[in-house]
Symmetry: C2
Subunit: 187 residues, 2 copies
DNA sequence: TCTTTTATATGATAATAATCATATCATGCG
DNA sequence: CGCATGATATGATTATTATCATATAAAAGA
């Protein structure tokens, strides 16, 4: 090993980070290897030493996406996390946001690997959501599923509509509904 | 008028139909003018006699998308319509499905026109949903918003996960939650 | 039948795509 | 200090892109 042992791994991580950002901002077909590598401070040459194809890169980007699950795990207050998620500020930060919402529409078009990675992330997220359902409440699984759909649907719709009264109204309503689904008395 | 007066209009409609299909299946950047025109039985030459740009075409595709709203308007049974929407069969028909769900992620990347067209469609859909809230129930607007987010989030997530137990479970749960939100007693 | 007008087709341009073969660089070991 | 090797760069290939200028086809009125 001539380079430091973690050198290549760090480069790889950098590529993945930049690719995640660009995929979220421009979509899979909207950004090329050249721009991804340039954003990572490299040129296209080395790409195939790290990934076998653009599709594989995409799947691995999804594999690393556990931000929302992490925030839930680290916070005792699920309502707070969900409220921060269904917020105009998060809506306007598409590139930094969670890929589960931003790349939802891209995944069906990509291969098996992407779908599997996505599904795994959903499963992990559901576990964290379920852990926040008050003890004793029935149907914690259903509650988690409902909250998840409200988050993904709410932020997606709000982003498509941009800034405006309806967008904010929708976010507010989804915020309430998601919190009620998780912690409220219904269901 | 040398050609029949509605000749060009019919061609235009055909282009819009095919473009809608292809955009839903492959995304905005995933399909080119050539393929769209070929799918409409033409060549790329005539495209710019119908639309000023690909972006304008995309916005006009969104403008014509009122399928779910129409189904709601024509059916007295909203629960039936929503159940058909949040169904594995509809999940697997991405190309034919409603663009509000399939193209959600594309809209923020496209221009003002696309966002406005999308927002208009959401407004119309909300009106139809609200019309199905039982008379006397409070907060019909909130109920409609919640049902909408559950539909878009549910079908989007289910498509990204493909066919599988979790996907079906999520659809079933969203179906129940959306119907309960619209017609149930809570909220 | 011939002309005029509208609708579509052909061909071109300049840019960018994914991928790979080959070349160069940087670095730690001897 | 130089060399071997792993990491990155260069250059090329083949394909496709949006867009437009120009050419052709079709059809209705004379």
């Amino acid at each position: 090993m001539r380079y430091a042992p973690e050198h290549k791994a760090r480069t790889r991580t950098r590529i993945l980070d930049r690719a995640a950002l660009l995929f979220r901002r421009e979509g899979f077909a909207g950004v090329g290897i050249d721009r991804i590598m340039e954003a990572a401070g490299l040129t296209r040459g080395g790409f195939y030493a790290h990934f076998r194809s653009k599709e594989e890169l995409f799947a691995q980007v999804l594999d690393r996406e556990g931000d929302l699950a992490r925030r839930l795990r680290e916070s005792p207050d699920a309502a707070r996390v969900l409220s921060g998620y269904l917020d105009p500020e998060n809506r306007d930060q598409i590139a930094r946001g969670c890929s589960l919402a931003t790349l939802t529409g891209e995944v069906p078009r990509r291969g098996r690997a992407a779908r599997r990675a996505y599904t795994r992330q959903v499963e992990q997220l559901l576990e964290e959501l379920e852990a926040h359902v008050p003890a004793g409440a029935r149907d914690s699984r259903s509650r988690a599923l409902e909250a998840l759909a409200l988050c993904v649907g709410g932020i997606g719709l709000a982003r498509a509509m941009g800034d405006g009264e309806l967008s904010r109204e929708l976010l507010a309503r989804c915020r309430d509904a998601a919190c009620a689904a998780l912690e409220g008395g219904a269901a």
